[in-house]
């Protein structure tokens, strides 16, 4: 199962229950961490993020099985999660600004990386919400500009501009510290 591609696994979701179950478990193993991280960061509230996280995979499961080819499953999952997060923000007054998001701690061994991580988290507060989201999707979710554009539903040129602006600003802020390391 681990050797199968995302697309193969996606197709298996339309098969009988046992195969569907195994395929879903493998997809979940591969991508749940990133989706969980995205929900926590975007929604802020732990309980709401957990609900949206579950809803993302249930929605994905319910819409699976069509004949369409799945070229980029992580981006597809992120798109579902993003829609649900924004829907939550529109409906509930308890949503929090993106700058108040909960950024999960990471397992970082080196002291330098740990310190840099802290500074980046703080510096991210200084860029706009769109720039930050595009930056995080690119840097942490390894999405291409095209995938980010599809996920955020904006032109690629806009994504490129956001990411370049965000990186330029964050790097500029951190440059004294980067030079020291």
């Amino acid at each position: 199962m681990k050797q199968l591609s995302d697309n193969d696994l996606y197709k298996m979701l339309s098969r009988e229950h046992s195969i569907r179950e195994a395929a879903f478990a493998e997809i979940y193993r591969r991508h749940s961490g990133r989706i969980f991280s995205y929900c926590r960061k975007t929604v802020g509230s732990t309980a709401q993020a957990d609900d949206i996280f579950q809803e993302t995979f249930l929605t994905f499961l319910n819409t699976a099985g069509s004949e369409r080819a799945m070229t980029n499953l992580p981006a597809y999952l992120l798109r579902i999660a993003r829609h649900l997060c924004f829907e939550q923000k529109r409906q509930g007054s308890q949503s929090v600004p993106l700058e108040d998001i909960d950024i999960p701690s990471r397992e970082i061994n080196s002291l330098e990386a740990s310190e840099l991580s802290k500074m980046i988290n703080t510096a991210l507060e200084l860029v706009s919400d769109e720039q930050r989201e595009a930056f995080l999707l690119q840097m942490e979710h390894d999405l291409s500009y095209q995938d980010i554009a599809e996920t955020m539903e904006v032109p690629v040129t806009t994504v490129r501009n956001w990411i370049v602006r965000a990186k330029s600003k964050i790097r500029h802020i951190l440059s004294p510290y980067l030079e020291e390391t």
């Binding site: 229950h17 179950e21 195994a22 879903f24 478990a25 979940y28 193993r29 991508h31 749940s32 961490g33 990133r34 969980f36 991280s37 957990d50 996280f53 579950q54 995979f57 249930l58 499961l61 700058e99 108040d100 998001i101 909960d102 950024i103 999960p104 701690s105 990471r106 397992e107 970082i108 330098e112 990386a113 310190e115 840099l116 991580s117 802290k118 500074m119 980046i120 988290n121 703080t122 510096a123 507060e125 200084l126 840097m139 979710h141 390894d142 291409s144 500009y145 490129r160 370049v164 990186k167 330029s168 964050i170 790097r171 802020i173 951190l174 440059s175 510290y177 980067l178 030079e179 390391t181």
Partner: protein, 420 residues
């Protein structure tokens, strides 16, 4: 024009590093890099940032095992398939159906426990505040009133108000004596039903209180011959005073004044539980004075005080300086003024006093205004020393691109106070 070109090449650096530059853009970038040293430095810096960035791996943010199990159950799948995704310890818990159920219940119960704990704290604090007006006075054997005459007075009088008899001989007064309220300069302020010295001296009824059949509603029960009363004296705890009809006022003033506390200096050590937006405190290492505050309080009376406090604490933030550059600041130095409300000692908890404090002030490093809210308890094991501890929340106001933002911090503190 040159600036524009440099700016465009800067953008190309990021496109190249992200693998988004096409061949034409790559060629243009390489040509520019060959002749532009500042662009080369920028390229190196961008590359360093890119390679240093601690990327999130899938394992870094795995959802909790119980959440995964619930999801698999909702999807109609075997929850055990979600178990290998969790950590070994948690997996051991959720693998069993019973334990999984218990774990879920504990998580659900968490939402009830927190309000319950909050309510309990509120009850204790309220009890402490109310304790101020419910002191109980018991007379020693030698100080008991003449049972028959006094008993009749109190039993039959509809005007005796709050005091009453218990077990025939033992007198148990409640709310019968107004607690003195201390004002500035340590003077005793008497309440309406308290009596002035001259009234005591000149009023024969009050002088011979125990022989009277009727007691005025305004009469103070403390005038009972050889009665005993416990006063609260600011933060120094209780003071027992023996009352005699003629000497009562002098006794009160002498005994009370020596125990009034007006000035307190204190120091607190601050700890961090969480920062909002989430960031990790402690970058750059701790200095000796980090997370320490020094304050002084002037007690207006036993419950109310004005505080002035200064401190330095870890609060990572970027501060914009006059030239528009952002500087990373790990610790903030602040000065605040505030108000403290202290409840009376809780006798059932060994004299512990709950208190709450609100501070507002300014960050000296220029971030902006800062506000603090404290809720804690203090304990006075010695005459002039108090230990304290509790929870503290901090709100830091700062500007980001002309938008006012608020950063928050939840922490704890423990401290030492010296009373004068």
């Amino acid at each position: 024009m040159k600036d524009f070109e440099h700016h465009a090449f800067s953008d190309l650096i990021y496109l190249f590093i992200d693998g988004e530059a096409d061949d034409t853009q790559k060629s243009a970038l390489f040509a520019a890099l060959a002749n532009d040293t500042s662009l080369q430095a920028e390229f190196q810096s961008a590359m360093k940032f890119h390679t240093s960035y601690p990327r999130l791996t899938s394992e870094d943010a795995m959802p909790p095992a119980i959440l995964s199990c619930n999801l698999f159950e909702k999807a109609g799948f075997n929850p055990a398939l979600a178990v290998p995704l969790a950590t070994a310890v948690v997996a051991g818990t959720v693998r069993s159906g019973l334990l999984s159920s218990i774990g879920t219940k504990i998580l659900a119960f968490k939402s009830v426990l927190i309000p319950l704990a909050t309510a309990l704290i509120g009850i204790v604090a309220t009890a402490g505040l109310m304790n101020d007006n419910s002191q109980e006075i018991k007379l020693s054997e030698a100080q008991k009133p003449e049972t028959n005459s006094a008993a009749e007075v109190f039993k039959n009088s509809g005007e005796t108000g709050d005091y009453h008899f218990q077990n025939g001989n033992e007198v148990n007064f409640q709310k019968s004596i107004a607690t003195p309220v201390f004002k500035k300069k340590n003077k005793v302020l008497r309440t309406d039903n308290d009596l002035q010295p001259e009234i005591l001296a000149e009023n024969p009824v009050l002088k011979d209180f125990s022989s009277e059949k009727k007691v005025s509603e305004n009469a103070d029960i403390s005038l009972l011959k050889n009665s005993e009363h416990t006063f609260k004296t600011s933060q120094t705890g209780n003071k027992t005073i023996i009352f005699q009809p003629i000497l009562i006022i002098d006794t009160v003033e002498n005994k009370v004044e020596e125990n009034v506390t007006s000035y307190v200096i204190y120091t607190r050590k601050l700890g961090t539980v969480a920062l909002f937006p989430t960031r990790e405190p402690g970058f750059g290492g701790y200095k000796f004075l980090d997370n320490t505050s020094l304050g002084a309080m002037y007690s207006m009376d036993e419950n109310h005080g004005i505080v002035l406090e200064a401190g330095e604490e870890v609060f990572p933030v970027f501060v914009k300086n006059e030239s528009g550059e952002y500087t990373f600041t790990n610790t903030l130095q602040w000065v605040t003024a505030g108000y403290r409300l202290t409840a009376s000692p809780l006798t059932m908890l060994g004299g512990i006093q709950p208190y709450t404090q609100l501070n507002a002030g300014y960050v000296l490093s220029g971030s902006g205004p800062v506000a603090k809210g404290l809720a804690g308890i203090q304990w006075q094991p010695f005459k002039n020393v108090t230990f304290s501890g509790g929870l503290e929340t901090t709100a830091l106001f700062y500007k980001r691109e002309n938008t006012q933002k608020v950063g928050g911090k939840v922490g704890y503190f423990y401290g030492l106070s010296i009373l004068f």
